[in-house]
């Protein structure tokens, strides 16, 4: 099982953005999503987060996402950045740079 090294986050709580917080999981990928458009786009947002995690080879992960109506590319970018930070070596303070 591949897991992240530490908790990290990306994104904001502004309109049309989402905030993604990732942390090491305890078996599988778990996504806790809060979205103002959950009825219309909840499944799509979950699918994008899961796809990005899979692409980055992660199988064990907890994700908390708060969505304020982000478009799909923003969901992908914020997830990728949060995971990049969580996977980065400790030396840069987890900033992923």
């Amino acid at each position: 099982m591949k897991t992240v090294l530490r908790a990290a986050q990306a994104g904001t709580m502004e309109s049309n953005d989402l905030m993604v917080i990732v942390e090491p999981g305890s078996g599988g990928i778990s996504i806790d999503l809060e979205s103002i458009v959950s009825r219309q786009y909840g499944a799509a947002i979950r699918a994008t987060i899961a796809r990005v995690a899979a692409e980055m080879g992660l199988t064990d992960l907890n994700v908390k996402a708060v969505d304020k109506g982000a478009l799909d590319y923003a969901v992908e970018a914020r997830t990728r950045t949060a995971l990049g930070r969580a996977l980065a070596p400790e030396t840069d303070g987890g900033r992923g740079k």
Binding site: N16, V37, A70, L71, D72
Partner: protein
């Protein structure tokens, strides 16, 4: 049964009885309901003034099950509805039917009074904040009736809505009951929505925090219509009553939409001597008004009137001579409140003259152009302004259906996407304004004209506006945001959306969570 725009309407509901389905914007026949006029007498030397709500309730012949009314000119600063209903509770009254012309976050205490059985039903034109959420969750024992600004005076005049006691928020009142709205610490400007209450309610109570010497003149509502005057500490929070200044948006998307809306008006051929206009106080609407003002100044056009909710911007246009008069049913900001007191041709009007379709001629019918908003619009141009795309109540019918029906040119402005959600949908989740009364949709990515109005479409194409079909706009939005999942609406009916003529254009079903 299905109504004229294909909406499933129940034959009857608890509280409202038999429902008449919407037949078409101009098809609903006027009805009258027998009702005896109220008995009134005020002997010379009699006293109308009470020093507290407690004293007033001791004197009023108000019983459980009665209908009480309020108006919403104090908006999110209103303390009157809350204090009167709390007093009614204290007095042991139950099952009250409430007619409140607009419901805001400040009215949240009503929810507990519903649960307690003090409030049994609600009629209103707008629902915002916690009460809106409570309605969607089915807290009210009967469906809430959402009416238009013109529909309410119709129902009061024809006897359908019979009010026992009307409570009029009076920013200034004298001991004889003359009322003015633009003076005092709780000044709100026009009291136009309360005029029908003053004309038709059994008992009319002025609630004031500013008792001034007699005679207070010229009155908005005169003493011969007011039975009691009750003095209270405060009508509410001035910060929620009027906004200090209404600033024009700097959002580039809203400005692009506004510029296109103004170009649509220009291309329509209506912008000429005597032009009449209404617009909301929303970002794009207000910016569009500024562009219209610039075009009028450039071409030296003197308009007829501006109507509706009045803002500082409209006052500026009046004072620059761009309109001959303002008809004001609701004053949105401090400057329009002041103007009402200072400008002779800034006229306070009642909701009946504003928008009652079953009168001898309301002012919305004399509008050349109106600019309106939307939370959704569908391929038939039906507009939703009452619920979000998720079916949860969060908006107002207000004057939207009234002005759309009356104006020669009805423009709906909206961002193509709002919080990811496409504004253009196959079918709006809640229909408020029928598509037959809407002419143009203006978005930042193109303008769509209702196919019933081919002549307008040709004019807009000729004026080089970015004219698209409405389904093209829908596809464009879905390409950017992805197609939304369909939202189920199979819960119980929690609200009825009444068209201005008294028929039911749609229902709102409850949502969980």
């Amino acid at each position: 049964m299905k109504n004229a725009i294909g909406r499933e309407i129940p034959g009857e509901t608890k509280g409202q009885g038999k429902l008449r389905p919407f037949l078409g914007a101009f098809q609903g026949a006027p009805e009258t309901f027998p009702r005896l006029p109220p008995k009134k007498r005020s002997p010379p030397g009699g006293n109308k003034v009470f020093s507290s709500l407690g004293d007033l309730f001791g004197d009023l012949e108000l019983k459980s099950g009665a209908t009480v009314s309020f108006h919403h000119h104090l908006r999110d600063g209103d303390a009157v509805a809350n204090m009167v209903l709390a007093a009614a509770d204290k007095f042991g009254l139950r099952d009250l039917n409430v007619s409140l012309t607009g419901t805001f976050a400040v009215h949240a205490p009503m929810i507990e009074l519903v649960k307690k059985g003090v409030v049994a039903s609600l009629r209103t034109s707008s629902l915002y904040g916690p009460v809106a959420g409570a309605v969607s969750r089915g807290v009210f024992p009967t469906p809430v009736l959402i009416h238009t600004h013109g529909g309410r005076p119709r129902a009061m005049k024809n006897g359908e809505l019979s009010v026992d006691v009307a409570f009029v928020a009076a920013p200034a009142a004298d001991r004889r009951g003359n009322i003015v709205g633009h003076l005092g610490k709780s000044a709100c400007g026009s009291l136009g929505y309360a005029w029908s209450d003053a004309d038709h309610a059994g008992t009319v109570v002025a609630v004031t925090d500013n008792l001034v010497p007699f005679p207070l003149f010229p009155p908005s509502i005169p003493q011969n219509k007011v039975d009691r005057v009750v003095a209270v500490e405060s009508l509410g929070d001035p910060r929620g009553i009027v906004s200090g200044t209404t600033r024009i948006t700097k959002d580039p998307v809203a400005l692009k939409i506004a510029a296109s809306a103004a170009e649509v008006i220009s291309a329509s051929g209506l912008l000429k001597e005597g032009f009449s206009f209404q617009t909301g106080a929303g970002g794009a609407s207000l910016a569009a008004a500024r562009y219209v003002a610039q075009m009028m100044e450039k071409d030296k056009i003197r308009g007829g009137f501006a109507l509706g909710g009045i803002t500082a911007h409209m006052v500026g246009m009046l004072e620059r001579g761009l309109f001959q008069c303002l008809y004001d049913v609701q004053s949105f900001d401090l400057e329009s409140v002041r103007s009402l007191g200072r400008n002779q041709n800034h006229l306070e009007i009642g909701a009946d003259l504003y928008a009652n379709p079953h009168s001898s001629g309301c002012l919305v019918d004399d509008l050349d152009a109106v600019i309106l908003g939307a939370t959704e619009i569908d391929l038939d141009f039906n507009v939703n302004v009452v619920t979000g795309s998720d079916g949860v109540i969060m908006g107002a019918a207000g004057g939207h259906p009234d002005t759309a029906a009356g104006a020669k040119l009805t423009i709906v402005v909206a961002n193509l996407l709002r919080s990811r959600q496409p504004i253009v949908v196959d079918r709006v989740i809640t229909a408020t304004t029928p598509g037959e009364t809407v002419d143009v949709l203006v978005t930042e990515r193109g303008v769509a004209v209702n196919p019933k109005n081919q002549e307008l479409k040709e004019r807009l194409v000729k004026a080089r506006l970015d004219v698209k079909e409405i389904d093209e706009l829908k596809s464009l939005a879905e390409k950017i945001a992805g197609a939304p999942e369909k939202v189920d609406r199979d819960g119980p009916v929690v609200a009825l959306v009444e068209y201005r003529d008294g028929t039911i254009i749609d229902v709102v079903r409850g949502v969980s969570g």
